[in-house]
Symmetry: C2
Amino acid sequence: MAERGDLGWLLGASLRAYMEGAERAVAPIPFGYKGYMVLSAVRRFCPGTQLELGRRLAIDKTVMTHVIDALEEAGLVTRRPGPADRRARRVALTAAGEEALQAAVERLAAEERRLLGGVPVAVRDQLVEGLTYLAEKGGSGPECGEVSDCSVS
Amino acid sequence: MAERGDLGWLLGASLRAYMEGAERAVAPIPFGYKGYMVLSAVRRFCPGTQLELGRRLAIDKTVMTHVIDALEEAGLVTRRPGPADRRARRVALTAAGEEALQAAVERLAAEERRLLGGVPVAVRDQLVEGLTYLAEKGGSGPECGEVSDCSVS
DNA sequence: TATTGTTATACTCTATAACTATA
DNA sequence: TATAGTTATAGAGTATAACAATA
């Protein structure tokens, strides 16, 4: 934010610009973009306990409780005790959750296209490449393994 | 943040990664990176009223009051009524402020070099180009004119 | 009356601590 | 004893509203 051109300012301003549209795009989902992130991670990492979801998304477990409370109340996810460990609750998308997520993904993609419209594809690719590098340099969940199987009931 | 690879997640995670080092780099300055931004903008836009500083940095005027209070108390800036309009207070760097800013700029540059160390220069350039485009698409102060003269007393 | 800046207050977001229920 | 999750509470950070001084 300081001198425009500083990496910090650029990242902050870019994030603000992105979020402005993103929050609008995912609007119906409780907790906005954060709620969308959780829905998205639930689909991707399937059963996923809340703690695991939190680790992957860098969201505190207490925050996760509130978000999932809201998503459950809105009928977008279910929360059931795990079969092996009844403490670890399995979060899963409902049909309505799948729909809401799919709709959000589409509106978000449209928003990204709008936002990146004027950026040449080559620049865009290297933008993503650079950001991916930076993101991985941070401590956000380097210990997350890959997804195993995935068959929602 | 949702699916790693999403632009939103990438921007958020990159900003976190950057800020981790940046806050450490500017540590002695009150209000951390925000304080650094203000110092930096004061040097760049010289006299600058508080309101103008806030507009340029997307910082609320009430927040600006607190930040400048702290910077003034730390002896890094002075705050005097403007000659033409005594409501609009002119903020200026002290010698100590110049020093603190210069030191922070250097540590920050080192931190950026460390963070971007593994990124090829071509990618880095296009990363900055892409971010600059995104940042300007946002509403953060498009109505800010350029700097006029600048001679601190 | 409008504007700069301050103060006090309220709100949002997040983290900490204490608790429960399982293991 | 340790862990998953919940609840209540406290803490940043930010914004809103009312105010003082000046224009």
